[in-house]
Structure formats: C-alpha cells, structure tokens
Amino acid sequence: MAEQKNTTQKILKGKSFKFGDDISTDLIAPGRYFHLRSNLPELARHVLEDADTEFVRKVKQGDFVVAGRNFGLGSSREHAPIIIKLAGVGAVLAKSFARIFFRNSINIGLPVLICDTDKISENDELEIDLSKGIIRDITKNIELGFKALPDVMIKLLNDGGLVEHIIKNKGFNL
C-alpha cells in the first residue's frame, strides 16, 4: 500500500484498475472490519478487498479506480472514500456515483469524476488534468471529458475540504 499524499495537484498520473457496476460501500469497507474504523491505515489494507482481492497489493500511489454505474452505493460510511484515498488512489472515475459517497469524497478531498469509463481498459496509463477537465488515456491515445463539479463543490475542494472551509470562514461561505 502506498503512502498518502496531497491529491489537490492539478495533473494526476497513474494506471487504471477496473471495477464493475454497483460497487457498494460494503465492498469498499466491509462491515466485518467495523472495529478497524478507529484505525484507518489498517482498514485501508482491506479496501475493495471483496471486489478484487489483489487490488490492495497491486495499487500504486496515484493509480485510479475506474468503475461502472452507481459507485459507492449503500451506507454513509465516510471511511469508504477515506481508505480509497489512503491506499494511494488519485481519483475514482465512474459512469455515475451514489449521492452520499460523492459528497463524502469531495468533503475529504478525493477527486470523483463522472465519465464514460467503457472507453478505458484495465491497466491503461491515464493522465488527468483536473483544472482543464481532461482525461488522457495514453495507452489508447484518446481523450475523454468528465462532468464539471457544481460550483459549491469546487469551492469546498479549493478550500481543502469541508473542515478547512469551516475553519477558514468560521462557518459556511458558499
């Protein structure tokens, strides 16, 4: 498992790990590890384990989770995006996301990008320009766009997440 680092940098580079539709928070952060929620680095060793047992062993700093529809459905556990980020993942790309997971990801500073992931294969080299809104699949030599975030979420991301937004503004300033 890779070290954590700041994901606010504008150009992200890494390899794609493909997942299917309906990747639930139970697959990302299984309930049987409930007791590890107070030990996030340890919990991160099990991230997505029930969807792909090899993932944690193979993922490198900056790599991408690339999935189908409705990624992150299920529980409100914020531990799910947190441990994806802790495992080194630079961004999650999916055709669509479940609402609570999407909001949690922005709050904790994990980029979540909505795009046509069918065009990306397992192990493709990707380069993502967050500010320009472009995903380059270097392996396939194609460019994909992704859906722009709502302004309020960009504001939160730029402040470094919700906690930092509240500290900085002594309350909401959206």
């Binding site: 007791h35 029930d50 529980s75 709050n107 909401f172």
Partner: protein, 417 residues
C-alpha cells in the same frame, strides 16, 4: 410558484424561496450519528475546535450498530462517544435503546423538520413528513457544530401507490417492487414523494418501511404528507404537539410521476447482490435458507413482529433454520412483550436479541457461514453485508420471512393466508 414537499421544507429552513436545482444553506432541527460514524464525527469536531454543539437537546449519538459491544476496539470507540456527548450535553442513546432511525421517529423527528444523520437510512423519518437525509461524518460534524448544512434542492419523483394490495402483500413488497422498477440508482439526488390512495390506508409502520428504503433507489429523501395517521402516531409517543401539516402544493412540478396499482402485486424478494434484483416469490426455484432475520430499521417494528408471530404462533421454525428476531427499539420490545408476541416467537424457536441493528451490518449476532443463505427483512443484500462475502442475502417482508422460516426455504406466504 407551487412547491413540492422538499421545496417547501427547504425554503422554510433557508429563509427564502428555493426550487429544485438551487443550493441553500439551511438550519437543521435534528442531527445524529451512530457508533460506526460518530467517532469520525468527533475527530472532525475536535479538528474544527468544537467542544460543544449548537443544539445539544437535538444532537444525538446512537450506540446501536455494535451494541452491546462485541470487542474491545468497539468498546473503546463507544467510550469516545459517551465522553463527547457528556461534555457537550448531547443526547446519548446507549446499548439496549434500539436502532437510531426508530428512536428518531419515536422521540425526535417531526413533520416539517430538516433531519440529517450520519447513516444512509436517515430517510426513514421522511415517513413523518420531515426532510430527512443521510450524510457522512464530516457533514454531520458540521451539522452538530453549527446546526446548519448545505443542500441542493432535489427534484422530486412522485410515486402513487393506488388500490389495496391483495393478501400476503405488504409495504415491504411495494417498496422492493418500486426499486426493481426504477433501479438502485433510479432516484439518485432526488426525493421520492409517496402518495396515492393506498397511502391513506397504510399504518405508520408501513410508511416507515417505505421511506426507510428510499435510499436503496439512490434517493436523498422519501417523503409522505403528514395527516391523521401521522398525528395519531405522534400522540401515541406523547408528542401530539409536534404535529404540523405538511403537504405538496397542487401544481408542484415533478420530474416524473409513477403510478403503481398495488392490487396487481405479489409477494416479492430481492436476490443477491443488489436490492433491485427482484423476483416474485411465486416464480423462484426452491431456495434453501439457513438463517432468517426479522428486525432492523426497515422491519423491526411492532406491526412487523406481530405479523411474524401471527404466522409462527403454535408452529415450529424448521430444524435447519436459525430464526433471529431483533426488535427495533426498547419501546417496540416492551409492547411486543405485553402483547405476547415475543413469547409466541420464542416458543416457535426464535432467538430474540436486544434492540439494535443486530446482524444487519455484519458486525456480530448472526454472521453467516460460507455458502449460507439468509432471508432477511433488512434493506440491503450487498455482497458481504452480513459479515461474509461468501454468503447470500435475500430480502423480503416479515410475513414471507416468518413463513419461510417454518418451511426451510423461501416460500409464498399466500399458501396459509
């Protein structure tokens, strides 16, 4: 301009008229977290420098997911919640009190409120006409600290449940049917507003079951208008004064209207591993089950336990099945004891567990073995949900669950009604 229920409630808490698509910072009336999400909320509160919360009387920590604690790590995180709650003067709902969503509707949520909780099934309180929605620990930490949150006003899908369902078909069947129809992401970012002639014949417990599962279609909220049924329930909880009329304006604009003829529906189940993978019980092959769970925030209320005990009374649970029953709250448990429901269930072979989430989230009290199947009245059946990725979860109404517990395989309860 006419408004949906969501637009009305959010407008009243934003101090201006807002409509679907608008972003608003709103006052919130009730804020909660449970023992799986609360400890992270506490660390975020501390990071922001908040030792106190804005509205302690309606800020609640629930210890329900791992209650009583099955291991020391969880006992230690429970202690974190107890300590913070005491310092901040917050409400603590401890071991034995029950599942957060049931206690919210019994004691805290009221029609017209905005309720936010660090648990996805916070949408349950929508049955009372409260705009009630689930968020993560960080949003909830801010909610505790400021009694405010930000929301995008959702579009609304109106669902009309029309006509009376036939025997053997319950609220759980209706909501599973709806999710099968619109899929697990059919209502993402939206509110489901439940209406139609049958809603006026539902019990309040039926409404809780339906609102509870709104999030399984991706919805932000699952709302009912408040009415006489709501009023009666609040009175029964000693909260008659909390009643307020909540309804949608006549010409409110809906993204979609879905009409369901309830009289056409059959008992239905969700098959592994998604809630929208539905099938009528009459159409399935013989599915053997090892465990049956009756309980949870979806179907652990008095009406549910009564339906189950009426079926199980004087009969025996199949020798190959473990039947686990978990009342949703202490109040439900006591009522069920008084009415002889618990006794009938125990006589039939059920194991009764103390109020809480029980085995629903895969922490304890009924983890499945490799290859085992469970028929459960809970709300989700994702792979690994009950603690073992090599097991299978089917979802049904309490009636289907109780009858199947006798038979040993998933069975059509209409055979005995």
């Amino acid at each position: 301009m006419d408004k949906t229920i969501s637009e009305k409630i959010i407008s009243s808490h934003a101090g201006r008229d807002v409509y679907s698509g608008d972003i608003a910072v709103v006052d919130v009336d009730v804020v909660m977290a449970q023992d799986g999400t609360g400890p992270l909320a506490v660390s975020q509160l501390k990071k922001m420098g908040f030792e106190k919360v804005k509205n302690p009387a309606k800020s609640i920590f629930f210890i329900d997911h791992a209650a009583p604690s099955p291991r020391k790590e969880l006992s230690n995180t429970h202690a974190v919640l107890r300590q913070y709650a005491e310092n901040a003067g917050m409400v603590l709902s401890d071991v034995g009190e029950g599942v957060c969503h049931q206690i919210l509707v019994e004691n805290f949520a009221s029609p017209g409120d905005i309720v936010i909780g660090a648990d996805s099934h916070t949408c349950t309180s929508g049955a009372l006409g409260a705009f009630s929605t689930g968020m993560g620990s960080t949003d909830i930490a801010v909610g505790f600290a400021l009694a405010k949150t930000w929301l995008m006003v959702p579009q609304t899908i109106k669902v009309n449940f029309n006509n009376i369902p036939s025997k053997g078909v319950y609220a759980k069947d209706l909501i599973i049917y709806l999710i099968g129809k619109i899929t697990a992401e059919g209502a993402t970012y939206k509110t489901l507003e439940f209406s139609g002639s049958f809603t006026k014949n539902m019990t309040i417990d039926d409404r809780f079951t339906i609102s509870n599962m709104a999030v399984e279609a991706g919805a932000k909220a699952g709302l009912f208008e408040s009415d006489e049924i709501t009023k009666r329930f609040l009175k029964s909880q000693g909260r008659g004064n909390d009643f307020k009329e909540v309804f949608a304006d006549k010409n409110a604009s809906y993204e979609q209207v879905i009409d369901i003829d309830c009289s056409m529906l059959e008992p239905i189940i969700s098959m592994p591993y998604t809630v929208d993978n539905v099938c009528s019980v009459s159409k399935i092959e013989k599915i053997k089950i090892d465990q049956v769970l009756i309980g949870t925030c979806t179907n652990g209320r008095l009406a549910d336990l009564k339906i189950a005990s009426d079926i199980l009374k004087g009969k025996k649970v199949n020798k190959n099945v473990r039947l686990i029953v978990v009342p949703a709250s202490k109040k439900v448990y006591l009522e069920a004891l008084k009415e002889g429901i618990i006794e009938a269930l125990i006589e039939s072979g059920a194991a009764i567990q103390s109020p809480g989430c029980g085995p629903c989230v895969g922490v304890h009290q009924g983890i499945l073995g490799d290859g085992e199947a469970c028929l459960s009245t809970q709300n989700r059946n994702f792979k690994g949900r009950m603690g073992n990725p090599d097991s299978f979860i089917y979802l049904s109404s309490p009636a289907t669950a109780a009858y199947s517990a006798i038979k040993g395989y998933i069975s059509d309860v209409r055979e005995i009604l």
